[in-house]
């Protein structure tokens, strides 16, 4: 049987995500880099007590709709609907305004583990690459070092950082094929290829599904081996 990782709908793609799951969500700050339709489907499913791993905590669909985004949901959909128990995150709040995550945080309704962005990326990669832990200088002399093992290597002080293991990674790519090979577009690459393969199950939301062999083998960013499911965004705007 030909390998076929393509699933028909977003609801089907997230059907086995249960309450309490650890979920990685790809992308960076702007919504175009994020798996918006997967986030919507996950929210529709009504899961609770998620631990999320993401760069940011969301601005909210309204902000992105104003900018004309076709698929406007970011992490905020999980935040505002109370689906998150704990967030492992690099950029949780905004200097510019108070987002919903900050409100929950102040109200003591969500736990947070704030991680420097590069360390977050490396901890995610470590999970994918079978690395048991690694040492970085980043965080020495700051609150980040609290509770962590320190080690001097070659005269410099380092902190031990551990892999972040997750049940599901929800990512967004530009194009994908039935083997799960993926390419991205511009700066919407970010955490998406880093998270691909870092969770037990990786689900990729793509703008377009192409035939096997259409993607240039020299330009494929995520080898299909890291991807378990591929689901395409609708060509037309969904009804509001």
């Amino acid at each position: 049987m030909p390998v076929n990782k393509i699933v028909a709908s977003f609801d089907e793609a997230v059907a086995d995500i249960q309450d309490g799951a650890v979920i990685m969500v790809g992308g960076f700050g702007t919504v175009v880099s994020m798996p918006s339709c997967l986030l919507e489907a996950l929210d529709r499913k009504g899961v609770k007590n998620l631990t999320t791993v993401s760069n940011s905590s969301g601005f909210g669909a309204d902000v992105w709709r104003m900018q004309g985004a076709k698929f406007p949901e970011d992490m905020d959909i999980l935040v505002r609907n109370g689906r998150i128990k704990k967030a492992i995150v690099s950029a949780p709040v905004s200097a510019m305004y108070v987002n919903n995550f900050e409100k929950l945080l102040r109200a003591g309704k969500v736990e947070i583990e704030m991680v420097p962005q590069g360390t977050l990326a490396e901890r995610v990669r470590a999970a994918k690459a079978g690395i048991g832990g690694f040492y970085v200088p980043v965080g020495i002399g700051t609150v980040i070092e609290e509770g962590k093992e320190k080690k001097v290597i070659d005269g410099r002080e380092y902190l031990l950082e551990l892999p972040i293991k997750a049940d599901f990674a929800l990512i967004h790519a530009y194009k994908g094929d039935r083997w799960g090979n993926l390419i991205y577009r511009g700066t919407s690459r970010t955490f998406n290829p880093t998270m691909a393969g870092a969770a037990r199950v990786t689900i990729a939301e793509v703008d377009e599904i192409v035939e096997l062999g259409e993607l240039d083998p020299e330009a494929i960013v995520t080898p299909g081996v890291y991807v378990d499911r591929v689901v395409a965004r609708p060509r037309e705007c969904p009804a509001p």
Binding site: M1, A129, G130, G197, G213, P217, I220, P223, G224
Partner: protein, 227 residues
């Protein structure tokens, strides 16, 4: 040294490779070592789609080309030129071993000098030369979900290769899942080595004579299915 070696016919390299390939399930991502493992690529059961990984940075490559006919920038880890195939992709060495070490390979197939009853593997130090090449073998042995060893059941001199304890340098301890030899198929389990299949004409007793540790004969032990 095993006494009284049965003089029955053994499977040849091609047939061993064919038996290896029967382990490949639809969609499996498989790394094939140099030698007999590499031949298994030619025997993927009809209708099954298997994706081959090679540690030099390629997934999904096609058949091995005839010598001299291939593109030198498209080789497997053994340096044989292979064909382009739809879905193929290339990546760096660190990414390649992120795939290996990270547990993303379904199956790794390699040769061995010795395998112990606990599934310890010794396959990198050439015994008679006291030098060796680790290459990707250790990473593969530690990382693959399932490790299949394919080798002759005994040395040319008739010595055991399936042993109670490896006396060559280990590639990895407790890593082998299945041993396919020229006379048998043996599964490594927590209870010990389970003899599951024998070559045509061979009995479990014959195989035991050429195997140092005690074999558990599977209830449904049968002749190796080759078609």
């Amino acid at each position: 040294m095993s006494s009284e070696i049965p003089k029955k016919e053994r499977l040849d390299r091609q047939i061993m490779a064919l038996r290896v390939a029967k382990e490949f399930k639809d969609g499996n991502v498989v790394n094939l070592g140099i030698g007999i493992p590499g031949l298994a690529a030619n025997f993927v059961p009809a209708g099954r789609e298997v994706i081959f990984h090679s540690e030099n940075g390629v997934l999904g490559y096609g058949e091995i080309t005839l010598p001299g006919e291939g593109d030198l920038d498209l080789v497997n880890a053994g340096g044989q030129t292979v064909k382009r195939a739809p879905g193929m992709c290339f990546f760096s060495h660190d990414e390649s071993f992120s795939i290996v070490r990270g547990g993303h390979l379904d199956i790794s197939v390699m040769g061995a000098y010795q395998v112990s009853e606990k599934g310890d593997l010794a396959n990198y130090m050439v015994p008679e030369r006291q030098v060796g090449t680790i290459g990707g073998a250790m990473d593969l042995a530690f990382g693959a979900k399932k490790l299949i060893i394919v080798m002759n059941h005994t040395t040319k001199e008739g010595d055991y290769r399936i042993v109670k304890k490896c006396h060559y340098h280990l590639t990895a301890p407790k890593c082998v899942d299945l041993i396919i030899t020229d006379i048998a198929v043996i599964e490594v389990t927590k209870k010990g080595l389970v003899l599951k299949e024998v070559a045509p004409g061979w009995t479990p007793e014959d195989v035991q004579k050429l195997t140092e540790p005690k074999l558990i004969v599977a209830p449904h032990c049968r002749e190796i299915e080759l078609m």
